[in-house]
Symmetry: C2
Subunit: 330 residues, 2 copies
């Protein structure tokens, strides 16, 4: 408990084990941990914010890990310190996921200037961890100047990641060019950059075709940043083709966004939205967990679903119960 | 107050003036009205649900009103009773909007089997009225068997409408085919049908081209219903070309959705989501309006936006204040 000052010092010194411990603390759901975690996050805030936060998203099998391994390596060669937060809602097996990710990114896992944090803890609906935002801040306080947040394109994860990243890179496989893959909602609209991976061997022509198709599909959509034309590139993470150059795209994106003040505005907006979604989620969590509501909640929900009661009236009843019977709620 | 039984009777008799009064009551923000409105909605629930709920969305200038006028007329000719809820977040001028909509849909406005309700009251961020769900139920209780909800494609309105419609028709103008228009987020992903309007006169070739372009762009996206291939059609609402046939698409969509049980499932899911978003919105509303929080809320929000405080800690402080200082909150 009183280990906080030493944890803080080790963290600021760039100690990767301290960083891992700090993230574990922040992800913990134990009430006593939570208080300490909050104090830790408040304490590191002045030292956070200095990285470029890159979301890496895409459907399973697109080669995200291979990309991150190659991209991260190229970043290390440019003198960057790379942190990877790998979120996988599918692998809830704890140790399995951790071993898996470290194997998938063997070079980064052994590089002293890199940090990999595989996590399935608290991964919520959008495919993003409930405390990923705080984990990013911790990585920054530990001196990592590029934080990659990897998430599997499961429904709305791209949108969720784009809410905490400065730039969102979407990785697709060449098969994405035909209708079989079926892109999830919103994936094209929130991408700041689209990579068609596996442009190697037999798949190379397919990747080129997919590149052209996505480029023309993108023309129908409004770009997330008005000043930024979203690049679509065929690359090969396996062979490293086109990977190092993406760091130049990242720099270019940052320059464009900073010139228009979009960089700072995006972060301010993200922070404010995070406040409100935190308020929203916590309030709902409290309501869902309120013991005096449990039975009534199930009842109202069933009736609403069956069309026997209006959502409007049911909501009012539940909220009155929640606020009224929770005088000094804990 | 005690006018409720007679209002209910008139409503169930299909009286359009009673329907208009009922919607006004439901949209009212006066606390005493709200209670009465809730009782009214609960009372009509057993008589609601019988219509096909069609969302009509699209960017300004695509010809949504012209389409609804032609489409509604074709529906009346098929013996349907048509209700139109026209939502326009832009026209907050009250009388102006009402007059405007009735003029834009002159035929429907004068047809005895149709009902038009222009509304800018309580139109929230998503471009959908806060009480549109309840207005649909009232229309159904009044015997309307097709309810068209018109909304301007302003950001997330398509998603919001798709949360209360059985089927979402998106109307685009031929200019939508080139990159200048720039479709808003999610518009392609939630559409159950896409119409390229203005396929008449000089614009006809452009409309055909846009039809082909959207059709191929759609192939990259997953359809909202797996069993339903989203039709893309060039039509002319002005000349009536292709309009009557859309009723057949509506029937076909319904048959497909009912066969897979998707119709009922979608409605059940919508109702449950409506319950939770109602709970969410009302809780946030209460928190925002809590007088004891006002100063603190502004302070925390400013610090979070400036990156001086974490959203996490700020949210916890505010929620504790909210729940703690609200013993028997009203």
């Amino acid at each position: 408990m009183s280990a906080l000052p030493s944890l803080l010092a080790a963290l600021k010194g760039g100690d990767r084990r301290a960083l891992a411990r700090a993230i574990t603390l922040v992800e913990s759901t134990r009430p006593d941990h939570r208080e300490e975690a909050e104090r830790l996050v408040e304490a590191i805030l002045p030292f956070a914010g200095g990285s470029v936060r890159i979301g890496v998203s895409g459907p399973p099998g697109a080669g995200k890990s291979t990309f991150i391994e190659a991209f991260g390596r190229a970043g290390l060669e440019r003198g960057r310190r790379i942190a990877v937060l790998a979120l996988d809602p599918g692998s809830k097996r704890g140790g399995g996921a951790i071993l898996g990710d470290k194997t998938r990114m063997a070079f980064l896992a052994s590089a002293p200037e890199a940090f990999i944090r595989p996590s399935s803890a608290g991964v919520i609906e959008g495919g993003v961890g409930r405390r990923t935002r705080e984990a990013i801040l911790l990585c920054e306080a530990a001196g990592f100047d590029a934080v990659l947040v990897e998430t599997v394109g499961a429904g709305q994860s791209e949108t969720a990641v784009s809410e905490m990243a400065d730039m969102l890179i979407v990785i697709l496989s060449p098969a994405g060019g035909d209708e079989l893959q079926g892109l999830k909602r919103g994936i094209l609209e929130v991408a700041d950059m689209i990579l068609i991976n596996k442009a190697d061997g037999e798949l190379a022509p397919l990747a080129r075709r997919a590149e052209a198709e996505y480029r023309s599909a993108l023309r129908l959509l409004r770009p997330p940043c008005p000043e930024w034309q979203v690049p679509v590139r065929a690359v090969s993470a396996l062979e490293g083709t086109g990977i190092a150059a993406i760091w130049e795209d990242v720099e270019r994106f940052r320059a464009v966004a900073e010139a228009s003040n979009g960089w700072a505005e995006r972060r301010a907006l993200q922070a404010r939205r995070a406040l409100w979604s935190e308020i929203e989620e916590s309030l709902l969590e409290r309501l869902r967990a309120a013991p005096q509501l449990a039975r009534r909640l199930r009842l109202e929900e069933a009736e609403v679903t069956a069309g026997k009661r209006s959502p409007w009236a049911a909501a009012r009843t539940l909220i009155s119960l929640f606020l009224g019977e929770n005088p000094a709620s804990k």
